[in-house]
Symmetry: C2
Amino acid sequence: MGAAFLLTQLGTHCASKFAERVQAIGLTPPQVGILGLIARAPGQSQQSVATTLGLLPSRLVAFVDDLEDQGLVERVRSSKDRRNYALELTTAGKRKLAEIGRVGAEHEKDICGVLSESERAELIATLRRLANDQGLIAGVHPGFRSLNRARGAEAS
Amino acid sequence: MGAAFLLTQLGTHCASKFAERVQAIGLTPPQVGILGLIARAPGQSQQSVATTLGLLPSRLVAFVDDLEDQGLVERVRSSKDRRNYALELTTAGKRKLAEIGRVGAEHEKDICGVLSESERAELIATLRRLANDQGLIAGVHPGFRSLNRARGAEAS
DNA sequence: TATTGTTATACTCTATAACTATA
DNA sequence: TATAGTTATAGAGTATAACAATA
């Protein structure tokens, strides 16, 4: 069993576990990505967020609708270019983001509990090398775009 | 960025890359899993394969249909219990399995190319520890069952 | 004419449930 | 009555394309 298959296996498992955790606080993984992106660069347009996450604009609308219904995000019409919205986090949105951080920390602990702190650091360093080599963008999940068929099974 | 998120990110990427490679030889990832399972234990029933892979029986039928059309798998009626089939690999199926092995090796090389052999071995050992700790079954992909929503985005 | 956001529609994938044949 | 395999149907999730408003 090679490293690539183990990565697929563990990656799928991690994604699934994380999805369960954020579902418990009323969010989907893409919404977590959206909230994080707005926090990093407030005032972004929906187009900008969609492009970064590799989400179709039409899908983003529904996610942002829900976030707005939950009172976590605000759509503010830009006065300069009234075609686009500036996305902002509300106070509740910032609180939710902190909550996501706690959930993420629990998740990390769940997954890496068997490792010592130095082992975990070494694993992170190795994974980061692989991710860089593959051209993956730090902090941006590659799985939101049309990759439904993209699940692997062991080769041999 | 924690190890859990990196695993999700890399895992999704690996799954996607592997899916592309097997598609080039006319297979989907679940079919690769099915072929491998039949190779390990020839004569299994479809029910058995479906249970192991976490696939619904109704989904399995279509996959096996296609494998049979490609001449890779044979459905042989069991003479003892004529309700179930014994799944067998044809000669072409065994050849295809060897091909899958080569594709898997290329895939491993693509993903781990930047690592030295000892680094790769250490990574495999660490990942195996994590997988065991999480209760994952060696060689069986956890992503075939109703986990569509199970994709993660970075927490913070 | 091009772009942002939106809605409407179509399509794919997956799950549920009904059906047959054997036991 | 229960089980293996199959088929039919319905549902969820996603992509494509048309639309209104603004530039």
